[in-house]
Amino acid sequence: MRDGLISLGRRLLARRGAALGLAFLALVALAAAFAGLLPLDPLGQSVADALKPPSSESWFGTDELGRDILARVVYGARTSLVTAFGAVLTAALVGVPVGLVAGFYGGWRDSLLMRCIDVLLALPNILFAMALIAVLGRSQSAALIAVGVAGIPGFARIARAQVMTLRSLDFVTAVRGFGGKPGYIMFRTILPNALSPLVVQAIVLASIAILLEAALAFLGVGVPPPTPSWGEMLRTGKSYLYEAPSYAVLPGLVLTLTILSFDTIGRALTAILDRDETDASGATIGGRR
């Protein structure tokens, strides 16, 4: 498992796009994690210095209250990454077991669970998230839950598809023959072998979560001020495009690069895992590739 992860990491880094994406995400994650150690104050107001352009003193310029935009971008990364991580965790913790149970047992359990998932899928993510925030109130945890719940169907459907593929294979039949119980077979036998597409899904959902959190903030239902949030900065910054273009452009650029990084890594992982699968199934025999 450990060797496999190291090998996967090496193969990812061998791809230039994925390597750049990883480097950027590492930078953002480190900045967010150690923001408190940096000489940055995201809340300090100085109205006299409002809407200053980027300078050596303030690399990204200042916002309408004279707060340092770079500081707010760095602290905003916390909001985005915590929301993304929390949303992925929420979605995976609910979606994967649902998919495993539905796929493993089939029958009425499958029908019931998948119809529930279909209901969730039928709801547009943003509307569902807004409705949930209307009930829970405007806070980071509400945004996290809203985005997480919106991600459940993706995990459930992928997990179900994987189980349906794997449950009839010999190694699963063997474990069942040795008296393995359903829970053991699902979580200890099938799940480890279904992880690859779920990891890709987690990365894809992380980028969707960041975008959705930003969209909610942009619509005015995200994390309340003065907590920094990229979406909130975009929302406010658009009103100052004439006076201070950097206010909206720079946080927007960081947001775009973060999502692009996640997507690039997700695509690279998909390509690597697809190749592994094809190799394993012997599809290359006969020179098909």
């Binding site: 107001q45 409002a50 209250l65 239902v221 001020p225 003065p226």
Partner: protein, 513 residues
């Protein structure tokens, strides 16, 4: 702004009444202007056509579809409109109006005393009177000896300015259309309704029987509704509209720098930090008084309104007779004084926390200035959160009094001081926030004293001074700044803009150079 004494008001009013025939003549500058189609960008969708439901959402149409009994000049002098003369009884208990002849409603009905009576009847009805109802509190009854004369009787002697405010606020409605006025306009105004596309705009055309000579100048008046301030500004810059009405101060400043004309009238609003003194730490007077010093008014004016307006510590626009600049200096932002009052409140740190500032999330200025206060409070050692609500959710909380503290603008602050009681936080009875019985009896008494000050100038001034003192002492509303509502930003080819006392949009004098 010049303050007018009661006597000067009366004299001016009578003098202007004598000059009534001339009031209908167009200004000289207007005669050089050409007509055409005037295209106006607005930021609000119209609610309805009832002139007694006056609010910023219908500011752009009311003075184009209707006329008032009298008008104010931008300086606050009353001048004739549908009433050509007025005579205030020596004991100040009645006013007799002479109505203009030759005026017809859009329906073709002649304008007579019956329409004024029907309008008074509607205004005095608690269900139908809407915004006018509270102003009608001073009115006892009315009569019409003939078609051209109406006499309004008051319950007690009423100061002249209050009488003029009432007359200016009374907009005659066609009796034939008074029951359907919300959906079908029924006025005598310079324009008539052609069509309306809900959410998109409104088209009006010149009233061919309009009574003011050579008005309106523009034959067609087309309003386009923009959902974004920036989109309206872009439309003006691209030439898609000729005027943007009621846009943001910040856009106005930018467009002025770009060469556009900006007109701001005297009808400013005053932003007030409304405190629910029936809740939590706000029951403590000393704690509330600290907010007089906690407001960084200069910063609020700058970040919220691009510096357009004036910092104020009282709920009066500079044009108000009760305006007193010395309060702005006395109650300037001072963190040390605020901290002393907070300490003097005797409240524990825990007792001072746990409340939130309600914020209109869809109002950019409200979000920004609330953060300024949040920052000041943090410096004073009181961390508070913002309770962001959107649209109707916010309005419901604001008008229902479901908040600890919030910013909300107050209007009618350039007229007779007790008109401030038309705003929910300043109501003396039936206050939706402070409830009944009113928790600040000194304030209620101060308002009553101003209402009853119909005597000499000294008596009036003493009543105003007393009200001002009580307002900062009770501190349930902390004014921060006046700001412009109904700003007009026009292309350079536009001329003849008339400034209304309430900053309503008056199109009849506007033409093309």
């Amino acid at each position: 702004m010049t303050k007018l004494s009661r006597r000067r008001f009366c004299i001016t009013g009578l003098a202007l009444a004598g000059a009534a025939p001339f009031a209908a003549a167009p200004p000289a500058a207007a005669q050089a202007l050409k007509g055409g189609t005037l295209r106006v960008g607005v930021l609000y969708e119209l609610a309805n056509y009832d002139p007694q439901q006056l609010s910023t959402v219908n500011f752009h149409v009311i003075k184009n579809l209707y006329d008032s009994l009298i008008e104010y000049t931008p300086e606050g002098r009353p001048e004739p409109s549908l009433a050509t003369k007025w005579a205030i009884a020596p004991d100040k208990t009645s006013v007799t109006l002479t109505l203009r002849e030759g005026v017809t409603f859009h329906s073709g009905n002649p304008f007579k005393a019956d329409s004024v009576l029907a309008t008074l009847q509607k205004g005095a009805d608690p269900k139908r009177g809407k915004n006018v109802f509270s102003t009608m509190a001073i009115v006892k009854d009315w009569s019409a000896p003939d078609d051209r004369t109406v006499t309004i009787h008051f319950r007690t002697p009423v100061p002249d300015r209050q009488i003029f405010d009432l007359l200016q606020f009374l907009i005659p409605i066609d009796p034939k259309g008074i029951d359907t006025v919300e959906t079908v306009p029924a006025g005598t105004g310079a324009y008539t309704l052609v069509s309306r596309a809900v959410g998109q705009g409104l088209t009006l055309k010149a009233n061919p029987k309009y009574w003011r000579e050579q008005q309106p100048l523009a034959q067609d008046l087309v309003f386009t509704v923009f959902s974004e301030d920036a989109a309206a500004s872009a439309a003006l810059e691209s030439g898609a509209v000729d005027i943007v009405y009621n846009g943001s101060s910040r856009s106005a400043v930018r467009l002025k720098d770009a060469g556009f004309q900006v007109f701001s009238g005297p009808g400013q609003l005053v932003q007030v930090f409304r405190i629910n003194s029936t809740r939590g730490p706000f029951r403590n007077k000393s704690f509330r008084q600290a907010f007089n010093y906690l407001m960084d008014r200069a910063s609020i004016l700058r970040v919220g309104y691009a510096g357009m307006g004036k910092v104020v510590a009282l709920p009066w626009a500079p044009a108000s007779p009760a305006f007193d600049e010395s309060y702005t200096r006395t109650y300037a932002y001072d963190l040390d004084k605020a901290k002393k009052l907070i300490a003097a409140s005797g409240l524990s740190a825990d007792a001072m926390k746990g409340w939130k500032i309600l914020v209109d999330g869809s109002n950019e200025a409200s979000v920004t200035i609330s953060q300024v206060v949040q920052g000041s409070l943090a410096k004073a050692g009181i961390p508070v959160e913002l309770d962001m609500r959107q649209g109707a959710e916010y309005v419901t909380a604001l008008l229902g009094g479901d908040f600890d503290a919030t910013f909300g603008a107050v209007g009618n602050v350039q007229k007779f001081p007790t008109r401030v009681t038309t705003n929910s936080i300043y109501r003396t009875a039936g206050n939706p926030i402070l409830k009944d019985p009113h928790p600040h009896p000194d304030y209620v008494a101060a308002i009553a004293r101003v209402d009853g000050a119909a005597g000499g100038e000294a008596e009036v001034k003493a009543a105003y001074d007393n009200l001002n003192r009580v307002l900062v002492d009770e501190a349930f509303g902390i004014p921060t700044n006046s700001y412009d509502v109904g700003l007009i930003v026009a292309s350079e080819k536009i001329g003849g803009v008339t400034l209304d006392i309430d900053n309503l949009f008056v199109a009849r004098t506007i033409g093309f150079k």
